[in-house]
Symmetry: D2
Subunit: 294 residues, 4 copies
Amino acid sequence: MSAGNPGVTAILQMICPDRPGLVRELSGWVAANGGNIVHADHHSDQGAGLFLSRIEWQLAGFGLPREAIGPTAQALAERLDGQFQVTFSDDRPPVALFVSKQDHGLLDLLWRTRTGELPMRVPLVISNHPNLGPVAEEFGAHFECVPIDASNREAAEARHLELLADHGIELVVLAKYMQVLTPSFLAAFDPPDAFHRVINIHHSFLPAFQGAQPYHRAWERGVKLIGATAHYVTEELDGGPIIAQSTVPVGHRDEVGDLIRKGRDTERLALARAVRLHLKRQVMVYRGRTAVFD
Amino acid sequence: MSAGNPGVTAILQMICPDRPGLVRELSGWVAANGGNIVHADHHSDQGAGLFLSRIEWQLAGFGLPREAIGPTAQALAERLDGQFQVTFSDDRPPVALFVSKQDHGLLDLLWRTRTGELPMRVPLVISNHPNLGPVAEEFGAHFECVPIDASNREAAEARHLELLADHGIELVVLAKYMQVLTPSFLAAFDPPDAFHRVINIHHSFLPAFQGAQPYHRAWERGVKLIGATAHYVTEELDGGPIIAQSTVPVGHRDEVGDLIRKGRDTERLALARAVRLHLKRQVMVYRGRTAVFD
Amino acid sequence: MSAGNPGVTAILQMICPDRPGLVRELSGWVAANGGNIVHADHHSDQGAGLFLSRIEWQLAGFGLPREAIGPTAQALAERLDGQFQVTFSDDRPPVALFVSKQDHGLLDLLWRTRTGELPMRVPLVISNHPNLGPVAEEFGAHFECVPIDASNREAAEARHLELLADHGIELVVLAKYMQVLTPSFLAAFDPPDAFHRVINIHHSFLPAFQGAQPYHRAWERGVKLIGATAHYVTEELDGGPIIAQSTVPVGHRDEVGDLIRKGRDTERLALARAVRLHLKRQVMVYRGRTAVFD
Amino acid sequence: MSAGNPGVTAILQMICPDRPGLVRELSGWVAANGGNIVHADHHSDQGAGLFLSRIEWQLAGFGLPREAIGPTAQALAERLDGQFQVTFSDDRPPVALFVSKQDHGLLDLLWRTRTGELPMRVPLVISNHPNLGPVAEEFGAHFECVPIDASNREAAEARHLELLADHGIELVVLAKYMQVLTPSFLAAFDPPDAFHRVINIHHSFLPAFQGAQPYHRAWERGVKLIGATAHYVTEELDGGPIIAQSTVPVGHRDEVGDLIRKGRDTERLALARAVRLHLKRQVMVYRGRTAVFD
């Protein structure tokens, strides 16, 4: 019927300077330990002289114990002057969702987590408004309302970092969180590195309509399609590496309220796709952009 | 099998201040003359207090002779304080295509004209380069190369206007014409009015990547979709009312050259759709935007 | 900003034999009572000689009291030898959802109802399995599990009809209900008429993969896109008038499980679109097909 | 700006029984000869125990002379019990286009060939009608009209095979050729093997509307989208491995003629995509389906 189930797999992501022989080197490392590769994806960016790789192999029969794979890959990465990450297909990393008042992003991610579509746990939901607490708690997450404004941003973000640390959070998803994260928050939670860990959904097909009220501005401009963009967060507002974009047609009968309604669907699809790609370790960042190995 | 062929039809487009009774007024005017309506579309923009209407009815059996319909509608428009246009489904208005060096927009429009998909004639092709002359002439169009640069723009556009007048051109389509039309050209050929007559194709999903080299900038930004926008030309660069937009997915393997290649298809589709909508009189402009009755 | 809010509106849908003057007749009927039309859509099917119309006008200022509009339209319909329906934009008709074990269709419709995106109430959820009871009840619906198999189909459907009558249900939506409705059920709840009232979602782009296990068969066939079809239910399995279809790309890496996962999103979008179109009275049936006035 | 130009590349496609170590084996073979891999794609079908691979590396600096790569890969394939193909990015294989009366498929492929979008030559166009001869000849192809009917099918196909042999044709594309190829033709030109060489475009989203008049049947069924499917031809009518599919929305205003018109665009896109994927050696067949490495 189908291609079969490979069981638990290990995933190695590596980004390093490009040179001949890297595919052999990486696949050879897996094969030398008896691993059976189920997916191998690579991308050479010749302009930047960079090589990106994602290799996934069956853990069953692999010569190294699970806990030794990371340290061994570390030695490989040093030899290649690269950055790497080792994960496993049965990982369920703890993820925090940041929200404001709107519930559609939150509900959608929680539902998809419950169905198993998103391989993660959601122990923590943070909001600057109290209204979504019951939803978060119904799905077993700790909810904390941290009101935020110009006067208390520093203290609020300190509380955020404390909560993230307490719950061992590995990924933050801004699921319609209507606040900007400061550079100091990002420096603390997501220091510059090949592997990002804050995802945002913006309700336009970036770079169109960066900033506030994109649907209103889309209506004013009279566009025939609206969209959504899921991206990693960087210091540049709405300027981080794009993971997924989607669009939906609109017409002259659509009011701003219709754009918002139609946009909710396309936002949910783009965000869910981005979070899943991240969790499946299918997205890698280079030069302010992403390679998506799906 | 299908809904049948209504024969030749007349089309009345009207834009006027909104008030109760307009649908009855317009449909009543048709019915009073024995016309059988095959399509009737209306849009009320309550924010601006505007009413837009497009009514299409069978000429067979209509009480007014073809040449009397326009003048009679004129009286109706005056009563409604509106702007109007009367056309017929068997019209084949003369259209001029403006091109630069790239042939895909030109070829696509000429081929669609030949198949009957676009109800128009193309007696005139104008370019600032000589290379597409043979293509234009093969399809029976007069081709004229009018080189243009900062020093001769005024003279060049005077020549354009002369050619447009000589051929009785009703619509200009910029099919990858890499020059900007000046306000004085627009004032002469397309004076401000409800019915525009210059269409351009821009190779991005506007308002993203206005101006030059959108594909290069799209590559730099790392977007996951590229697009094309067909719009009426106004004095504001890439700012006129949008008629049609389309997008196509791109990925990390796509170089700038791939974006250009993929973009050609989406440009052709958006432009052909816009020109067809215009010629079928299915697009109407209000408040810097379009209603599309398709 | 936008086109403004017309307040509560009345909607007249009419299907009758085509003849000249019908647009005037219907719009004249509204205008004669002082109504201001906000939407008017018509379709003539010349092959069948049928005329379909949907007119929506502001209730404020209309000369007839709300409860007199239907009876007055009845007289109009008789004169036109047509079938008609009068509804109001603030109606929230009671809708029953039929489900089996899968929750995504149910949750999606309940959430969209709660946000106001679907103008309906859901007083009743019926399933042949008990597992979704808590979900239904959380959203305030009465849940009843009516197990069904070959031996008790008649009794089960009798119970269905009883429940539908008890709750005054006007529309049934099969939101992944994995049972076939019998002709006698349809004859009782949805007798042949221009206005249908049972909607189903099928997980393929019909007519491909009618019947059971469409995703497995799609995988076997190696298609590059999968889809979903929302349609009115008739006696012919998966053969009723199509309201909405959507597709999503798939590739060689997608297993059957991935098709099911991706399909859930496209199913939800097609079904939500169809239910909304129905409730906005934007869909009309003729010749086994639909006109969609959106 | 972009990822750079790798110069001429060699491409190895291999399909063989799956076992651990294959990625290392293939990449090692390239690396051992000093090759720098620019793309490496693999797919394991665990259900069938098959491994598919496509590796592309720079010819510059590679240790084997161009003409020795195929024979050397042959030895590798034998060791792996696989089927293989070696090609080069500067190949321009001779392709024959089969057409009937419609010109859009033919013109589109010829234009794309001329722009360099399709890396092929078209020395031969075969039709069962004479009308497209001038088009073919304008683009430098030999045109031959081979009328075909039930009485002369065997002789006609013998002539086809003769022409294909005379022009050294490597790929046949049926660009709206309204005749069925017989099993004996296929056995002669495209014997069963991992690498197919006849591509057809069917004007529906298969498996919907197999066989004749799909647009008419789509209209009758009232579908809300139509589509096109490009596939390899096998003995089973419209049943071969699907390479590319695309769809386009349709509505109640679209007559059969509109479906045909809209379908031309989607047919062209699906066919051009499939032919390009084939020529870029990005499509591989297994189990009656394709892996597409794009």
